[in-house]
């Protein structure tokens, strides 16, 4: 099982703060997870997750590139940060 989190504008656009994603046989990488969410949840998810500036984090560390995921990982999608 993966824990998938969405924050800020991404959370609002999807109408979803978090979901549990069943760990598939054969494993998954970050790009594949994003493609599956897009395929399984429809156009609006494709549009939101496909935005150029979306940031992805795995286990609370920003992932600049695609990477292999492990069962139990926490994945997050969010827009550019604006704190301070």
């Amino acid at each position: 099982m993966l824990k998938v989190l969405f924050f800020a504008r991404v959370r609002e656009q999807l109408g979803c703060a978090s979901l549990d994603y069943d760990w598939p046989e054969g494993g998954l990488d970050l790009d594949a997870l994003q493609a599956r969410l897009c395929a399984e949840r429809g156009d609006s998810w494709c549009e939101v997750l496909g935005q150029d500036n979306i940031i992805r984090a795995v286990n609370q560390v920003v992932a600049m590139d695609n990477r292999v995921l492990c069962d139990g990982d926490e994945v997050a999608f969010f827009p550019p940060v604006t704190g301070g």
């Binding site: 924050f7 609370q60 969010f78 827009p79 550019p80 940060v81 604006t82 704190g83 301070g84």
Partner: protein, 160 residues
């Protein structure tokens, strides 16, 4: 520049409640840190942003990652300058114009290191720590966009 023999004391707090900068500076200076120089930065909520009058500023964050990323930024500062202590407090939730939002305090044996590290921490916090601001003004609400100028400020540190 080599770091001091003792690892710096680093504290990070993300909280809803307001903070007292005097108390924070006293806490930063407790123990072995009261030596040389302290630089602090306090950020306040703007009264207007891009010509809109802000009524409420709401801050969302990613619990866990926020604290870890700020700590990583402070540790990175400590590898570049000889720091005795660094402390960051950042508020979340609903804030009003004029409210304190963030505080950074850095103690070092020398002022140059304290100034630079404080600025480095703020610049990296703004571009790396997972906080998001939403403004409520005149009956509408919108997410604040990330600014190129903030990224450019953070990028300056890559040269040194």
């Amino acid at each position: 520049m080599a770091g001091p023999a003792q690892p710096p004391r680093i504290t990070v707090k993300v909280q809803q409640q307001d903070f007292d900068v005097g108390q924070l500076q006293a806490a930063l200076l407790s123990g072995a840190a009261a030596e040389g120089a302290v630089t602090t930065f306090t950020g306040y909520v703007r009264r207007d942003n891009e010509s809109r009058a802000v009524e409420v500023l709401e801050l969302e964050h990613y619990p866990g990652m926020t604290e870890a990323s700020i700590e990583a930024i402070a540790l990175q500062a400590a590898t570049r300058w000889p720091l005795l202590a660094a402390s960051v407090v950042h508020r979340v939730g609903a804030l009003s114009p004029g409210d304190q939002i963030v505080w950074v305090g850095v103690a070092s044996t020398h002022r140059e290191a304290a100034f630079s590290a404080c600025e480095f921490i703020m610049d990296y916090l703004k571009t790396r720590a997972p906080f998001w601001k939403k403004e409520y003004c005149e009956g509408s609400e919108h997410w604040v966009s990330a600014r190129r100028s903030d990224s450019a400020r953070a990028d300056r540190w890559k040269q040194g």
